[in-house]
Symmetry: C2
Subunit: 399 residues, 2 copies
């Protein structure tokens, strides 16, 4: 029996494919500090559990396909705090940002249409596009520019008649880059000039450092038909397993079309929507306090990394990842070695090899992504292990 | 700004597109008995809520991409009660059967590949295939055969080199047909002879009437690489809003490929998985008792329908729908009229026009689908309204 070409073209998630090896080692009693998954360690706000506990119906029915009204209103309120207005019919609740990205790409791209994305990128976005036979093209960025965007001319040189959209993650995963207002205006100009959608994954909104301010792309005027915002409760509210996200766009025709996909899959999970209402109602000061917590973690990680010989890191301006240049040219092998071979007192670390964050197979092979989603003392402990692992692996390679 | 052809080709869900009109009428004080959505009225078993209430962690993390182990084990146990054995790595937990169907079709079909499906069909299945640019071809069935399958020769005449799978809903939505063992063996022969997958949506398993026994397609020997079972807690356990489903298949290569899609979307909702464990652990006697409840509802509906002049109905053998031939040749207009114009004491009914359950635009235009998901006295009240609506609409059409 054959499988589809589209699925054979997909890779295992670089963030999760080590899981079976890790489980095997855990059975043998080895423990790990996980830096591979962007799974916040902060508590899910208790209001989420309380709202679900107060659900008093005796049946858990399908929710309305576009989302329950209190959640849509809470999402409106969340954007309003950023001085961004969305009407009710400009928001669709989705099963995580994963489904949101998938719906949007289904609605704007046919097979062989093209989408531009800054490289390195959030790998699952590209998997969704490939699942839909959409062609992904990279916009090159570099550690030397802290992964900020290249010139308008370079971006425009990638545009063809089949290009339908620019896909941006802002703040960025895996680079931590927060795009400047000038970069946003440049993307606006490109979107208008070339009739492109600007799909912006803003799930890390507000998780920014060093007093940087980040604005929503939805605050840009004149882009009403172009901008499509992707959101989620996963990261800001430490609620990854709730699987509640949203699409927000002022392009009413597009939202009607996406509504057909929402209807077909019936609804996002009902109880999680009930819980998510309370999350979106949390004020911006809640997010600021989380950001301040993550900033301490970032600092702990960066300070440790800067002391590891042979490593180079661009200091993230937002989100909770950093992309680290290592001395090795095959970090996939290194990551596997950390799981299977390396240990100090029966303990090791899990890192995400960065190769699959790039389209070009030769790029990113020397990089790893680390998520700083632990308390500073655990991060410091993990970075000590990383330093030892890098030293031992260098020696290992030389034998 | 343009939309994709694939989305423009999709229709609004015939089950949900009346919702805005209904909401408008409800605001004016009109009430409705809903026969359009397969939303069970039975209580979600209390063990579901109890299991979620007992969740004691302070964070709701991503679940493992393939599902939490206790849920996979509970699903194994559920199949074991039907004398069907699946290994742990032969089950993947999904976000409802919707995602399950979507994953399977992504993994076995490329754009322009073909899938055969008995017509009429569960409309959303076809929407998922179109979203993936898969070509759907109908296997004709008729009310005169109670929508059972045509001959092997007729089915085989639809197969081309691009045909990848047969898609079966068993027991069937919208027809209520439960396929006989002979029909199952015929499909087995076709699948083996033509190297086709047999994708079987078994979400209504156990909801069967008149002492019919239905078997899982997974019980057929010699089809290990071909059969892919789709399941869900929605219907059997009255838990539509939990959005928990599953894929079960002994084709290990295929399950590994589907695992890549599961990884990309991270996980199905975590708390709902915790609740679903307790649902899958309910014994078959729980499902039998639900089936007996639905049988009374079916009888109430059928007895009422048989008395309505101009209506014809095939008595469903399973699931909780019946497909009714009406005297009208545009039931979409009739359904809208029921919502907007018809009322008795400010009350009306919502029915699902059946046209979109067929590929051929001229088929099904005279049919409606009714879900018997209410207590018998409400069904009887609704059928009285339907009888009056049919009478009035006949007069309305003659003016």
């Amino acid at each position: 029996m054959q499988y589809s070409k589209r699925i054979l073209d997909l890779k295992d998630s670089p963030l999760r494919k080590l899981t079976p090896l890790i489980d095997e080692q855990k059975k043998k009693g080895k423990s790990f500090i996980h830096f591979n998954i962007g799974q916040p360690d902060l508590e899910t706000p208790s209001c989420f559990f309380e709202a679900i506990a107060q659900y008093s119906h005796h049946n858990v029915p399908y929710a309305p396909s576009l989302g329950i009204t209190p959640l849509i209103e809470a999402i409106q309120g969340y954007f309003q705090e950023q001085s961004v207005s969305f009407q009710k019919n400009e928001i669709i609740v989705t099963t995580g940002s994963s489904e949101a990205i998938f719906f949007v790409m289904s609605a704007i791209c046919d097979p062989f249409d093209e989408v531009l994305i800054p490289e390195p990128f959030y790998v699952n976005t590209v998997t969704f596009m490939k699942q839909l036979d959409v062609v992904v093209k990279g916009i090159p960025t570099s550690v030397h520019d802290r992964y900020h965007l290249p010139s308008q001319a370079i971006i425009e040189s990638k545009i063809t008649p089949r290009t339908k959209a620019l896909m941006i993650t802002h703040p960025n995963n895996p680079t931590g880059t927060v795009y400047s207002y000038e970069e946003m205006l440049m993307l606006k100009e490109i979107a208008i000039k070339h009739h492109l959608y600007l799909v912006v994954d803003e799930v890390y909104t507000g998780i920014v450092y060093d007093n940087i301010t980040s604005r929503s792309f939805a605050s840009l005027c004149g882009l009403e038909d172009h901008v499509i915002i992707i959101d989620s409760v996963s990261k800001r509210y430490s609620s990854c397993g709730a699987r509640i996200g949203a699409i927000a766009s002022r392009n009413h025709g597009l939202m009607r079309e996406i509504g057909k996909l929402a209807q077909a899959r019936l609804s996002a999970p009902t109880l999680d929507q009930v819980g998510a209402v309370s999350l979106y109602q949390l004020s911006s000061s809640f997010i600021e306090s989380c950001a301040s917590t993550y900033e301490k973690r970032r600092n702990a990680m960066i300070n440790s990394l800067l002391e590891i010989p042979g490593c180079h890191v661009s200091i993230p301006e937002g989100a909770f990842y950093c992309l680290v240049d290592t001395p090795f040219n095959d970090t996939e092998a290194f990551a596997r070695w950390c799981v299977e071979e390396f240990e100090v007192d029966n303990m090791s670390i899990v890192v995400a090899p960065a190769q699959d964050f790039y389209l070009e197979p030769h790029l990113g092979r020397h990089q790893i992504r680390l998520a700083f989603v632990h308390e500073p003392h655990i991060i410091e402990q993990g970075m000590k292990l990383l330093a030892q692992a890098i030293l031992q692996y260098s020696q290992h390679l030389h034998f």
